[in-house]
C-alpha cells in the first residue's frame, strides 16, 4: 500500500477517476445536442407535434446530463493547477491558452443558450429557439474540438520546443493542427455521437418492447438508425487511423496495445494476437492466441509490414507504458464494441429495408429491440476503454517524449491528495447513483404528449408578465405541493 504515500500516483488516480466519471456526461450532451437540432428541424419542417414532443422529452436527459457534466467538469480545469502545477507552468503557453479558448468559444456559448433552449419555448419565436438549439450543439461540440486538440498536442507535441523547462511556441497553428489532432477530434466527435445515438435508440427500443408509445419511439429509433448506418462503419475507419498515428508517432503505445515485446522486422508478415496474458516481469506473454500473418493487414491492409513494428523491449522499463495488460485489453474491448455496434446498425438497417420496422410490426422484433437496449451503455464502455488506451499508452510522459508524468505533479502532501481523492470517490458514487435513479425515473415516466405545442395550441402571450399567483400552475403534480 505504499502508493498511498505517493503524491504522483494519488494525483494520477484522482485525475483518472474525475476524468473517467466526467466524460460520461459530456459524451451524451455533445452527441445528443446534434440529435436535438435534427429533431427540432424536423419539427419546424413538418410541424408534426410528435417531433416537438421528442425535443421536449429528450432534452430532459440533456439537462440531467448537463448539470452533472458541469459539476464534474469544473474539477478537471482546476486540477491542472492544484495537482499538476509544474505541468501547467511548463505548458501554459500553449495548453493554458487552449483551455481558455475552450471556455470562451465553447462553454459560454453552450451555457448561455441552454437557458433559452430549455425554458424559452414560449418566450422566443421558433427561429430564435432553433438557433439557440443549434448554438448549444455548436458550443458543446466546440468543447470537444478544443479539449481533444489540447490532449492531442500532449500525445504528438508540435509547434515549438521546450526551453529551460518551458514550452515555447513558435507556431500556434502547427501546435493546434498537430499530427494527431484531426483524427483524434473526429474519432471523439463520432464517438460522442454514436454513443448518444445508441442511448437514444436503446431507450426507444425499451418503450417499443413494452409497447408504450410504439409509434412515437419508432420515429426516434429510425432517426437514430439512419445516422448510425453512416457513422458506425466510419468510426471503425477513424479508429484504424488513430492506431496508425500511434504506429507512426508513439510506437511504444502501439507495442503495448498489441502486447508486442519483440520487434517485428519490416518486409515480412507478422502475427497478430487475439488474446494474450502479458507479463511485465518476464517481458513476454505467458500465453497467447495469435492469428498468423494478420498484423500487416490490420495496420496497412497488406500482408507484409513496410516498417518495423517496435517491441516493448526496445525501451527500458522506465521509458515505456507499464500497464500493458490494461492497455491491451482496453484496446480489445473498444474494438469489439466498435464492431458490434456497426453490426447492430447493419442488421437493423437490413430489417428496416425488409419492412420489419413498421409501426405495426416493429414491436415483434423482440430480439432486435433487446439487443438495442443491451447496446445502450456499450458506447460509454468503448469511450472509457479508448481513453484508458490513449492516456496510459502515453505514459510515462504527460507531454510525450518531453515532460515526464513524475515531474508534472504538484509537490503537495500525499494526505491532501488522498483526502480529496476519497471525497471525490464518495461524492461521485453518490452522484452516479442519483443520476441513474433520476434518469430511470424519466424513462419510466415517459414522454408527456399532452404538452401544448407552441404556435399551435398555445393561448398565452409570448412573454408572460402576469404575476405568479394568477398563473395556472402547469408543473407536474408532484412539484406543485
Amino acid at each position: 500500500m505504499n502508493f498511498l504515500s505517493d503524491t504522483v500516483v494519488l494525483s494520477r488516480m484522482q485525475f483518472a477517476l474525475t476524468a473517467m466519471f466526467h466524460i460520461i456526461f459530456p459524451v451524451l450532451t455533445t452527441g445528443m445536442g446534434i440529435y436535438l437540432v435534427v429533431i427540432e428541424a424536423l419539427w419546424l419542417k413538418t410541424r408534426k407535434s410528435d417531433y416537438y414532443h421528442h425535443a421536449r422529452f429528450w432534452s430532459k436527459f440533456y439537462v440531467l446530463n448537463f448539470g452533472v457534466g458541469v459539476a464534474t467538469g469544473i474539477p478537471m480545469e482546476f486540477q491542472f493547477g492544484t495537482n499538476w502545477a509544474p505541468f501547467s507552468d511548463a505548458v501554459g503557453n500553449f495548453f493554458g491558452s487552449v483551455i481558455g479558448f475552450e471556455a470562451s468559444w465553447a462553454f459560454m456559448l453552450e451555457a448561455a443558450f441552454l437557458g433559452i433552449m430549455l425554458f424559452g419555448w414560449e418566450r422566443v419565436n421558433p427561429a430564435i429557439h432553433f438557433l439557440s438549439t443549434v448554438l448549444v450543439a455548436v458550443g458543446a461540440n466546440l468543447s470537444t474540438v478544443w479539449i481533444i486538440t489540447a490532449n492531442s498536442w500532449m500525445v504528438t507535441p508540435a509547434g515549438g520546443e521546450l526551453v529551460d523547462g518551458k514550452f515555447m511556441v513558435s507556431d500556434y497553428f502547427r501546435a493546434i493542427a498537430n499530427p494527431s489532432a484531426l483524427v483524434s477530434v473526429t474519432h471523439m466527435f463520432v464517438a460522442t455521437l454514436e454513443t448518444s445515438l445508441f442511448v437514444i435508440g436503446g431507450i426507444s427500443a425499451w418503450y417499443i418492447l413494452r409497447q408504450r408509445n410504439t409509434e412515437f419511439f419508432a420515429k426516434s429509433l429510425k432517426v437514430v438508425l439512419a445516422t448510425l448506418i453512416a457513422i458506425a462503419p466510419f468510426q471503425i475507419y477513424m479508429g484504424h487511423l488513430s492506431a496508425e498515428i500511434a504506429y507512426r508517432y508513439q510506437p511504444a503505445k502501439l507495442a503495448a496495445m498489441e502486447a508486442q515485446w519483440e520487434t517485428l522486422p519490416a518486409g515480412k508478415p507478422a502475427d497478430w494476437t487475439l488474446l494474450a496474458i502479458p507479463n511485465n516481469r518476464t517481458e513476454k506473454n505467458d500465453w497467447e492466441l495469435s492469428i498468423p500473418g494478420a498484423l500487416g493487414y490490420i495496420l496497412e491492409f497488406k500482408p507484409n509490414l513496410s516498417e518495423p513494428v517496435l517491441g516493448l523491449k526496445e525501451w527500458t522499463p522506465n521509458n515505456r507504458p507499464r500497464l500493458v495488460g490494461l492497455i491491451y485489453y482496453s484496446f480489445r474491448i473498444m474494438i469489439g464494441i466498435g464492431f458490434f455496434l456497426a453490426a447492430m446498425a447493419a442488421i437493423s438497417a437490413l430489417q428496416w429495408m425488409r419492412g420489419k420496422l413498421k409501426n405495426d410490426n416493429i414491436a415483434q422484433q423482440k430480439w432486435l429491440m433487446r439487443a438495442w437496449v443491451f447496446s445502450a451503455p456499450l458506447g460509454y464502455i468503448a469511450v472509457e476503454t479508448g481513453w484508458i488506451v490513449r492516456c496510459n499508452g502515453r505514459q510515462p510522459w504527460t507531454l510525450y517524449d518531453r515532460i515526464r508524468t513524475s515531474d508534472s505533479a504538484s509537490h503537495i502532501p500525499a494526505t491532501n491528495v488522498l483526502t480529496s481523492l476519497i471525497c471525490f470517490a464518495t461524492v461521485y458514487a453518490l452522484l452516479g447513483v442519483a443520476y441513474l435513479y433520476f434518469g430511470s425515473r424519466i424513462v419510466r415516466k415517459g414522454p408527456n404528449l399532452e404538452l401544448p405545442v407552441p404556435g399551435v395550441d398555445l393561448d398565452r402571450p409570448a412573454i408572460d408578465t402576469t404575476p405568479a399567483e394568477f398563473q395556472p400552475d402547469d408543473r407536474p403534480v408532484e412539484a406543485q405541493q
Partner: protein
C-alpha cells in the same frame, strides 16, 4: 519590444479582472440566492428561488471557468502556484459547486426534496466560503521560493484575515442575492428580501470597514504605495464613495424601489473591485510575483487576445440577450 512586455501582461490583468468581476457579480447573486434559500422554510418559495436562477446559473459559473482558463494561459506560473497553495479552499469551492449544480435538476425530479435543498444551500455556502478563503489568502500573501513555486504549508491560507475576507464576501453575496430577488420576485418573497438586503448591507459595510482599515496596517508592502500620491488620492476617495453608495442603497431599499438596490449593489462591487485591483497591481501573487514575471510568452498573450479577447463583446452580448429573454418577474416555470 519592451513596452510590449509590459503592455501585454497589463492587458491580461485587465481582462482577467473583468472576468473575475463579472463572475463575482453574476455568480455572486447566484450563490447569494443559494445561501438565502437555507432560510426559506417553504417548498414553493424555495422552488421560486431556484427557478430565478435555472436559466442563468451555468452561464454565471462559466465566467469563473473562463477566468481560470485565462489565468492558466496568461499567467501559468501564478495559476499553478495559487491553486497549489489553496488546495483546500479550492476543493471546498469545487465540492460546493458540485452539490449545488446537480441540485437544480435532481431537486426538480425528486419527491423528497430535503436532501437536495440542503445540497443547494450548503453547496452555495461552501463555494462562497472557499472563494472567500482563497481571495483572503491571496491578498494576505502566499509563500513561494525564488522560482515562484509554492513552498508554504497546507493550512497557510487559514488566517484571521482570510476568515474576515471570507465572511465579508459571503455578506456581499447575500446582499447582491437579496437585491436580485427584490428585482425578480414580488409579494411576500420580495418583502423578505428587502429585509435580508438591509441586514446584509450593514454587515457588508462592517466587514468592508474592517478590511479597509486593516489592509494598510498589515499589508506592509502596499502601505508605501497607498500612502503616497497618486494612489493616496484614490484611496482617500474610495471610502467616501463607498459610504455614499451604501447610503443610496439603503435609501432605495427604504423606498421599496425594485431595481435600484441591485444596481447600487453592483456599483458597490465595482468600487470594491477597483480598490482591490489597485492594491494588488502590479502583482499577481502579492507581493511575491508580478504580472510581468508570471506571464506567458508574449506571443501566447497576443494569440489569446485575438482568440479570447475578441470574443468578449460577443459573450457579453449573448449573455445580456439571455437576460432580456427572461426579463420580468419569476414565475413557476412551464417546465416538464
Amino acid at each position: 519590444m519592451d513596452t510590449l512586455k509590459y503592455f501585454l501582461p497589463q492587458c491580461w490583468f485587465a481582462i482577467l479582472g473583468l472576468f473575475l468581476f463579472l463572475y463575482v457579480m453574476l455568480d455572486g447573486f447566484d450563490l447569494g440566492v443559494g445561501i438565502l434559500s437555507l432560510t426559506s422554510d417553504d417548498e414553493e418559495r424555495r422552488g421560486l428561488l431556484m427557478t430565478s436562477l435555472s436559466n442563468i446559473w451555468d452561464a454565471n459559473e462559466t465566467w469563473l471557468v473562463l477566468m481560470a482558463g485565462g489565468l492558466f494561459g496568461a499567467f501559468p506560473r501564478a495559476y499553478g502556484t495559487i491553486l497549489n497553495a489553496l488546495y483546500i479552499p479550492i476543493f471546498l469551492m469545487i465540492f460546493g459547486f458540485i452539490f449545488r449544480a446537480v441540485a437544480f435538476e435532481f431537486r426538480d425530479q425528486a419527491n423528497r426534496k430535503f436532501f437536495w435543498n440542503i445540497a443547494f444551500g450548503a453547496g452555495s455556502f461552501a463555494a462562497a466560503l472557499g472563494q472567500g478563503f482563497a481571495l483572503g489568502a491571496v491578498l494576505s500573501g502566499i509563500r513561494v521560493d525564488e522560482a515562484g513555486y509554492f513552498i508554504g504549508g497546507t493550512w497557510d491560507w487559514l488566517t484571521w484575515k482570510s476568515v474576515l475576507v471570507a465572511l465579508t464576501l459571503i455578506q456581499g453575496y447575500v446582499l447582491i442575492g437579496s437585491t436580485y430577488l427584490v428585482w425578480k420576485t414580488e409579494g411576500e418573497l420580495q418583502e423578505t428580501h428587502y429585509r435580508t438586503a438591509k441586514i446584509a448591507a450593514w454587515t457588508t459595510l462592517i466587514g468592508a470597514i474592517f478590511i479597509t482599515i486593516t489592509t494598510p496596517i498589515f499589508y506592509e508592502s502596499a502601505r508605501d504605495r497607498l500612502f503616497n500620491p497618486p494612489l493616496l488620492y484614490v484611496f482617500a476617495t474610495i471610502p467616501f464613495l463607498g459610504i455614499l453608495l451604501i447610503s443610496q442603497l439603503l435609501t432605495s431599499l427604504q423606498r421599496k424601489e425594485e431595481r435600484a438596490p441591485f444596481i447600487w449593489t453592483i456599483l458597490i462591487f465595482v468600487l470594491t473591485f477597483i480598490g482591490l485591483a489597485l492594491v494588488v497591481f502590479p502583482y499577481i501573487i502579492p507581493t511575491e510575483i508580478t504580472i510581468y514575471e508570471a506571464s506567458a510568452d508574449p506571443s501566447s498573450l497576443v494569440i489569446m487576445i485575438i482568440f479570447i479577447g475578441a470574443l468578449i463583446p460577443v459573450m457579453l452580448f449573448y449573455n445580456l440577450y439571455q437576460y432580456v429573454v427572461f426579463r420580468g418577474k419569476v414565475t413557476p416555470q412551464n417546465y416538464e
